[in-house]
Symmetry: C2
Subunit: 318 residues, 2 copies
Amino acid sequence: MRFSAADSADQSVLVTEVGTRDGFQVEAEFIPTESKAAVINALIDAGVRSFEATSFVSPRAIPQLADASQLMDLIERKPGVRLTALVPNARGAERAAAAKVDMMACFVSASESHCQANLNKPIERALADVAEFVPIARQFNIPVRGAIAVAFGCPFEGDTPVDSLLRIADTYHELGVRHLSLGDTTGMATPPVVERAVDALQRRFSDMEIALHFHNTRGVGLANVMVGLQMGIREFESSIAGLGGCPFAPGASGNICTEDLVYLLQESGYQTGIDLDRLCEVARQVESLLGRGLPGQVMKAGQRLRKFTLDGARRAVG
Amino acid sequence: MRFSAADSADQSVLVTEVGTRDGFQVEAEFIPTESKAAVINALIDAGVRSFEATSFVSPRAIPQLADASQLMDLIERKPGVRLTALVPNARGAERAAAAKVDMMACFVSASESHCQANLNKPIERALADVAEFVPIARQFNIPVRGAIAVAFGCPFEGDTPVDSLLRIADTYHELGVRHLSLGDTTGMATPPVVERAVDALQRRFSDMEIALHFHNTRGVGLANVMVGLQMGIREFESSIAGLGGCPFAPGASGNICTEDLVYLLQESGYQTGIDLDRLCEVARQVESLLGRGLPGQVMKAGQRLRKFTLDGARRAVG
């Protein structure tokens, strides 16, 4: 019944920052490569140890991420920091290897409609492309992470059957992939949906590390994290300041917010190795960079035990 | 380990709407009484069965709620709908009784500094005032609910010791109060803090119903609801559209959002008796009423299984 980490053997949680990929890719205006690198470098300084930094998809598909190679060059590499990039095929894998990524992420949608809309090919073909590039990654000794999009529901098809997840995860597993990331691409995950999916995957594989990637499109992103924590998940993907969005829900939130996630984890007794105050500074810098307010809460409210004076309160109230 | 209600004997959850009190009271511009009543009446039509509708504090203290009696008159009363009002003292109790509230809520802060700032009196004196008005409520056969502000932390004093909660709850209990509401006034609740407080109160009292009142100031409001659900709590207080705010955190969210809470509950198998689509309509009406966007997510994103077409998606993306 307890939520805090005090009873858990494993209190360490890996937070993977995806803001410069999943967040920035929905920004219409091109963000200078130097600014993207500055965000990642500042996050590394704040203690973030894992990134989905960019994507080696076709520059024509996502112009915002066309600078993937240059971005990798500008990141100040540090031991213990893992830089992952999305890779759609063999050509992307060659580019990613040349850019010295620490991990490649392959990705397939759990529904045919979304796979077609997102990758412009059916699931079978997407999996064949993954099978083609995994040996390239292996050749460069770069581990591969397998992502599944719309893992908790598809905006075109509705519920995602657990069997669809198992089918893709089976293929990943056969290819030697041992890291799985379940993506809540349009924010359809709920506690029972998460529980059902994670339970099925944990039962099927004893040797797959599972990460959860939630969006806060319907406000329940951190509630879903609570489910993951209780099921033993120790890696979550999030965006600094709550970057990102959902093309189907104008005005709705994007990915769960890194600093709010870290706040929840640390207050619940988990260790992330991240300095929350510095993380909030970076979040505010990202607001400045984009020139608008972003959904993150802790960067506005401050740490839990931040003290106020009565006088200050009256001023604030009045 | 399971979060869904499927394993629970009691799947019914009471959602108490506090937006017209806790939300509206931070609005600088006076909201016409008719508009306030329209919000409550629309929520009743959507299936909401419990409200903290207003407050019978001194009109000078909170001008926005100076229309408490008139507001009560404009609400279309229905059987099974409970209209609660905050009551600070005997005079407020007389006014509330005359306005035919279904329940009175007394309130005391768990910290001396906040009690002084909020009620302008020490805790001892605030409890004495409660002791004075409870017999008046009893005389009118109106049940009293006991609220504790800053129950999970105080912006002036930091952590709220569990003993402070027990002391106030003991006094309430001696006065015959059997409904307790723990208020996270400035959004300092976290999973372990909630767990500790609720556990202590559940151990002390076998005959007190406990409601939880969370703010989303630091983004973890619904994560805290998850803790409450797992501990058997079956009443939560929230604001339509996520109304409200925190005087200490400009730009931060207010109360947890009613429609997002109802979404989480219903998707997790709990019954609230509320029509989520109609609730979202009211949330959008409240945005129009205040002339600005509000934090609620589900009103923007829609129901979980809302379907999109590929064509619509491409248009939305492009």
